[in-house]
């Protein structure tokens, strides 16, 4: 059986490497994905770096000079304007604050003094300015209130019944978790893309070209046929996954992640761990792809079915793993297991050998089941029908 499988594998390897579709599907994902990651991370960093202060135009600064001094900070740059309609001023500034003539008077009489903030909420800068002005006004408000209470001999702390102090305990930022989730999904999808074309071609494609019948007429066991094809498709899948891990790790490491608060560094150890986690999974994906493609009568039909299979990791990721609050939930079921462990590896957490072995064992068992089903399909006389 082994020699037969190797003979089949030898032919499939040669055939697969010469098939442009198989080659492209193995290579393109590993090339395009990391470029996308690099672009996303650098885009985020650029956005953070380019964060500019809100340009706030103030109309009637003379009515409240102290207020204007108090609200100016790192995020708010204040500009004095005069004799200009607020709406017209919005063409030049992010927001316009209008101070009425009665402002100082009302403040002096300990009445509620009104201010008007003009913004265009269809613009990002406009939305941002509301939050920033509110925050600045909050600080000014506290100051005015404290002053009023002190002038009446009241301790200002009595109005603060509760003092909520937020202390962050997470080791990684929210952004780190979010990006690591994205990367984990990206890695898990790699084998689905890398081996899609070759799995479809060596099964449904062979049948479509009428090459299956001559093969089944030869003195070679169905197990040899299935194993030979599986070995090659898994090999190509592993090459694609390796290239994806290396390229994506390079993209992450080369991106200015720390500038955006993302603490990810795909070290050589993490890359090795990811390979160990994904290797058995690649075999399962290929076996599943072969089984599905064997149902199809043509390459295109198989390609359609296998394209639909691409949704599986996305559904599993969001339904079984990512629903947990920032905790990689490592179960033993194939794919759930790999998703959880990959996230741990990316976050530089050590792998538990027993847990890893148990998950890999279950994945291999599922692979064996799929291969057995492939053999049964090849034994079926239905395979000879057009």
């Amino acid at each position: 059986m082994i020699i037969g499988a190797l003979n089949i594998a030898r032919k499939e390897w040669k055939d697969g490497l010469r098939d442009r579709r198989s080659f492209l599907s193995a290579v393109v994902y590993s090339a395009i994905g990391p470029i996308a990651i690099f672009a996303i991370l650098n885009g985020l960093a650029a956005e953070v770096n380019n964060e500019t202060a809100t340009r706030l135009a103030v109309l009637g600064t003379g009515h409240a000079p102290v207020l204007v001094n108090l609200i100016e900070n790192r995020d708010l740059q204040v500009f004095e304007i005069q004799d200009q309609e607020p709406i017209d001023a919005l063409a030049e500034y992010d927001a316009v604050l209008a101070i009425s003539e009665s402002f100082a008077d009302k403040l002096g009489k300990v009445q509620q003094a009104e201010l008007e903030l003009f913004v265009d909420r269809t613009k990002d800068a406009g939305m941002k300015s509301i939050e920033r002005v509110r925050r600045a006004m909050g600080a000014v408000q506290s100051r005015y209130v404290s002053t009023r209470l002190i002038s009446r001999g009241v301790n200002p702390e009595i109005i603060n019944a509760i003092d909520l102090k937020v202390r962050s305990v997470e080791e990684k930022s929210v952004e780190t978790w979010a990006i690591s989730r994205l990367l984990v999904l990206f890695f898990v999808m790699a084998p689905f893309f890398a081996s899609l074309s070759i799995a479809a071609d060596m099964t449904a494609g062979e049948r479509e070209r009428d090459a299956l019948q001559p093969l089944l007429m030869q003195p070679v066991s169905r197990w040899s046929i299935v194993l030979g094809k599986w070995i090659v498709a898994t090999g190509i899948g592993l090459l694609g996954v390796t290239a994806t891990i290396l390229a994506a790790s390079f993209a992450v490491n080369a991106s200015p992640t720390t500038e955006i608060g993302i603490l990810l560094y795909a070290s050589a150890g993490a890359q090795w761990d990811m390979m160990i986690i994904l290797a058995p999974f690649v075999g399962l994906v290929v076996a599943l792809q072969m089984l599905i493609a064997l149902i199809a009568k043509s390459y295109k039909e198989a390609q359609t079915y296998l394209s639909l299979l691409l949704f599986l990791p996305i559904v599993v990721a969001f339904a079984a793993v990512f629903k947990k609050e920032y905790t990689p939930d490592v179960g033993y079921a194939p794919m759930v297991h790999q998703l959880g462990l990959l996230q741990r590896a990316l976050l530089d957490q050590p792998l538990d050998p027993a847990l890893t072995a148990m998950g890999a064992g279950l994945t291999l068992a599922a692979t064996g089941f799929c291969l057995f089903a492939c053999v049964k399909t090849y034994q079926s006389e239905r395979m000879l029908r057009g």
């Binding site: 089949i8 030869q218 003195p219």
Partner: protein
């Protein structure tokens, strides 16, 4: 030697083969004749171990392909009704692949590939990929694939289909060489002049049953005809009265 005893096969409610029996001896070319859908290809697929008969059995040198498919297939050189070549592989790689599947390796395999390539005049295109091959080139590649392990029994399903005169001539030469070297050759065909020219033994199948078997004289005598084509039509469709010279 290939023997079929009361072979029957049905696909759900369709009876593809009801009762086919014949003997194809070594050193003879046996032709399986039948109209489209008569059960020839299904019979050949049962001989090649692709399909299991519902009843009856086929024997390849006394080995049943239904019970021991790999042993039976090792004694067969099979030429299916469609060439089924791999477009990215060269002719040499095709022959080499199928030789390996039959257990050939090393120098034995290399010699076998070179010999069959020379015999089928494939040497000039031996290292060319089969994509875009003519029907004749594809036929010769498929035939080389079937002969590389020098099988005792050769089974061909409609081998002359789509071939030009040169291709038919080459095929005829190979089949005659195989017969003369003591091999058992079984093939199915529609081309009566070609069949009459090279076959030693004739098996006529109609509606999944063997309706006549024997040498040319025996077939003609059984049908009371002087031409094989007329005899074939009379035996295949007994309800249709065919007189000499009326066959179209």
């Amino acid at each position: 030697m290939i023997v079929c005893n009361n072979l029957a096969k049905n696909f759900k409610k369709v009876h593809a083969v009801s009762d086919v029996s014949f003997e194809a001896e070594d050193g003879k070319i046996t032709a399986l004749l039948g109209l489209n859908g008569s059960g020839k290809s299904t019979t050949l697929r049962m001989i090649s171990g692709l399909l299991k008969p519902k009843t009856g059995e086929a024997l390849i040198d006394n080995i049943s392909p239904a019970r021991a498919p790999r042993q039976a297939q090792a004694r067969l050189g099979l030429f299916p009704d469609r060439f089924g070549l791999y477009p990215h592989l060269t002719v040499r790689e095709h022959i080499d692949y199928f030789g390996r599947l039959h257990g050939l390796a090393g120098r034995t395999l290399t010699t076998a590939v070179d010999q069959i390539a020379e015999r089928l005049e494939l040497s000039p295109i031996l290292n060319r990929r089969t994509e875009g091959f003519s029907t004749g080139q594809s036929m010769r590649t498929a035939l080389a694939r079937a002969l590389v392990h020098d099988p005792q029994n050769l089974v061909l399903d409609e081998p002359t289909r789509g071939l030009d005169v040169k291709g038919v001539k080459q095929l005829r030469r190979v089949l005659i060489e195989a017969r003369d070297s003591g091999r058992c050759v079984v093939f199915s065909s529609h081309v009566m002049p070609e069949v009459e020219r090279i076959a030693d033994h004739f098996v006529i199948i109609a509606d999944g049953r063997t309706v006549a078997a024997g040498n040319l004289q025996e077939i003609l005598s059984q049908a009371d005809a002087s031409e094989l084509e007329v005899a074939f039509m009379r035996l295949s469709e007994p309800g249709t009265v065919q007189t000499e010279g009326q066959v179209q």
